[in-house]
């Protein structure tokens, strides 16, 4: 059976079209970053970074916004990273590796009371792991604005007000309002899935025989994790943490009603303080500026700083990832 040979020219055109899509994406990237870099670089001077705003925010610097963003990100990391790493350790080290279907089958086919009880709990543990993983995946998909609503409805209205009722004179609102603390916790929830997934991947790269060797020498599971697994997985964990942090640094929707402010005459120094924020500043300057043309330089400068911050964090993560891969 002899058929028509493939048309070489139309093949080449098709492949070129596919390649063009990559070029298109690259072009979009270059245009966005280039435009911001060119227009923003002019505004970003030492003064810009270190001075507070003046003239009703038409001039001056964005120092408080930088401080606010930094404080927020640090608090968020303190909340998210340990919790995320712990969850990943739980999922990977303390739940059965064989998965629910197998664990349940082994339980159903087992005989003998002691064995059955053990296998039952094993199956339950596998079930819990599945549900947890599902919850993590769903957490990752929750829209950022819904996190903001949750921050408002839960942390501020529920927890914050309860703390106020318990610790403050009646009518006094200290915890039941937007603040660094609640915004940081809200953001921590948002970045949790990123940290968990990246940590699990890092744990997965440690071969099982290392763990077995440690246990065979008489170490407990926790000791094995602490001394053998974690040190090896640390680079991957760091990368994941930095990735999550850089994403959190750029999110604005969750902090809209949980503590961000456009202008504050002082820097935040308590967790119950409100704060200025680079991303929030960009939003307000873009959409509520009385004179768009006049504030454009300021706006570009702020965007520049925000983008630079995000990319620096991303870059740090990539460098760590590359460095550790070459080490292997």
């Amino acid at each position: 059976m002899k058929g028509r040979p493939a048309n070489r020219m139309s093949d080449r055109i098709a492949i070129a079209a596919l390649g063009a899509s990559v070029l298109l994406i690259l072009a979009i990237l270059v245009v966005i970053i280039g435009n911001i870099a060119i227009h923003g670089a002019r505004t970003v001077t030492w003064e810009f970074i270190t001075q507070p705003p003046r003239d009703g925010l038409m001039a001056g610097g964005i120092f408080p916004a930088i401080v606010g963003t930094a404080a927020l990100v640090i608090l968020m990391s303190i909340a998210a990273v340990p919790l995320g790493v712990a969850t990943a350790i739980y999922l990977h080290e303390y739940t059965p590796a064989e998965g629910l279907t197998l664990a349940w089958r082994r339980f159903r086919l087992s005989k003998g009371r002691a064995g059955r009880k053990r296998l039952f709990f094993r199956a339950m543990s596998a079930l819990l792991a599945n549900v947890t993983r599902s919850a993590v995946a769903n957490l990752a998909g929750v829209p950022s604005i819904v996190f903001g609503l949750f921050g408002l409805g839960f942390f501020i209205q529920f927890v914050g007000r309860a703390i106020d009722r318990a610790t403050q004179p009646p009518g006094e609102v200290v915890w039941g309002q937007g603040s660094l603390l609640w915004a940081a916790l809200t953001l921590a929830l948002l970045t949790l899935p990123t940290v968990i997934v990246a940590t699990e991947e890092a744990l997965r790269t440690i071969p099982q025989d290392l763990r077995e060797a440690s246990l065979a020498l008489g170490a407990t599971q926790w000791e094995t994790i602490r001394r053998v697994v974690l040190p090896g997985a640390l680079p991957g964990i760091l990368t994941g943490a930095i990735l999550g942090i850089s994403r959190g640094a750029g999110e604005v929707a969750p902090i809209l009603f949980t503590g961000a402010a456009y202008y504050l005459p002082f820097l935040p120094h308590r967790v119950t303080d409100q704060f200025m924020h680079l991303g929030y500043h960009v939003l307000i300057l873009s959409t509520q500026s009385p004179d768009v043309e006049a504030t454009k330089p300021l706006l570009y400068g702020t965007v520049f700083v925000l983008l630079a911050l995000t990319f620096l964090l991303n870059l740090a993560g990539v460098i760590i990832r590359v460095k550790t891969r070459s080490r292997r």
Binding site: G19, L24, L283, K296, L299
Partner: protein, 289 residues
């Protein structure tokens, strides 16, 4: 120590549950038939919560959400899959190592920056090029949204394409197929579940995206079917109006209702996407059709 770590395991489950609970809880003021009727059946469908007689029809906002999502997906899906195909099947390995991080860089741009770009720069270009009546419209916002969605479609599709076993490609070459034929008739169909899942996850992200659509959409909750009019989405409405509502009032409840709606839609769509990805594995390994 097992105990301490088990507690960590529960956190994600507890908080997903809490998020739904507390978002839903605040919808209490509007959990009644008259309010629901006003949301979905009011004629004319107008959203004006701050006028003397508040009009709370969600139709224009839902329509706006759909318009922006459709435009975004129409851009991101073909471009993302094409880039993934090129990267996985035709690019030399060194080039592939470069393409992936570059596209991830696009994913690293915060959505408020993308919104800024669309508002200040893209809108002007589009208007100069096409003469739009309204500078901020569904095309502007949808296109910027599409830029943000491309990395999602690309990453998941590319993973799916790369996971297709080498033996399939070899069998195809041995039968005298060209690289293009192999890519389009063997590899892409085999990776179809992954590509589909990438669309579903991009959809979920599009529905929930706030900043880009808030800044670049024009902020007008109008019921119109043309893409040249400004729009408002569910998330943008929440973002724009939550700051000024009376806690516990109808407007407040309506906004939280939108939030609950967003949560449920993205929950379903993301669960579906995860399910497709999980089932893909067994198909590839030779599970019976």
């Amino acid at each position: 120590m097992t105990g301490a770590f088990s507690v960590a395991g529960w956190v994600a489950i507890v908080f997903i549950f809490l998020i739904f609970l507390f978002t839903f809880r605040e919808t209490a003021p509007v959990l009644n038939l008259p309010a629901m009727k006003a949301f979905f059946l009011a004629r004319p469908p107008v959203w004006q919560p701050t006028s003397d007689i508040p009009k709370l029809s969600m139709i224009p906002i839902i329509l706006g959400t759909l318009k922006a999502t459709v435009v975004g997906l129409l851009f991101a899906c073909p471009v993302g899959v094409a880039a993934a195909l090129f990267s996985s099947e035709f690019a030399p390995p060194k080039l592939r190592e470069v393409i992936k991080p570059v596209i991830e860089l696009l994913a690293g741009i915060p959505s408020v920056v993308m919104g800024f770009f669309a508002l200040i720069i893209l809108a002007t270009w589009l208007q100069d090029a096409f003469g739009f009546v309204y500078r901020l419209n569904a095309i502007n916002a949808g296109l910027a949204l599409g830029f943000a969605l491309v990395p999602i479609v690309y990453t998941i599709s590319e993973d799916g394409l790369a996971a297709v076993p080498r033996s399939y490609r070899e069998a195809s070459y041995a039968l005298g197929a060209s690289r293009l034929q192999t890519a389009m008739k063997v590899v892409l169909p085999a990776a179809a579940p992954a590509v589909f899942a990438s669309f579903v996850l991009a959809f979920g992200r599009a529905i929930g995206e706030t900043m880009i659509l808030l800044m670049a959409g024009g902020n007008a909750a109008i019921t119109s079917l043309t893409l040249l009019d400004p729009l408002r989405t569910l998330s943008a409405t929440i973002a724009a109006e939550m700051g000024e509502v009376v806690v516990g009032g109808e407007h407040y409840g309506a906004l939280f209702f939108m939030g609950t709606l967003l949560f449920v839609i993205t929950f379903i769509s993301n669960s579906f996407g995860q399910w497709v990805i999980r089932n893909m594995q067994s198909r590839m390994q030779g599970g019976a059709a």
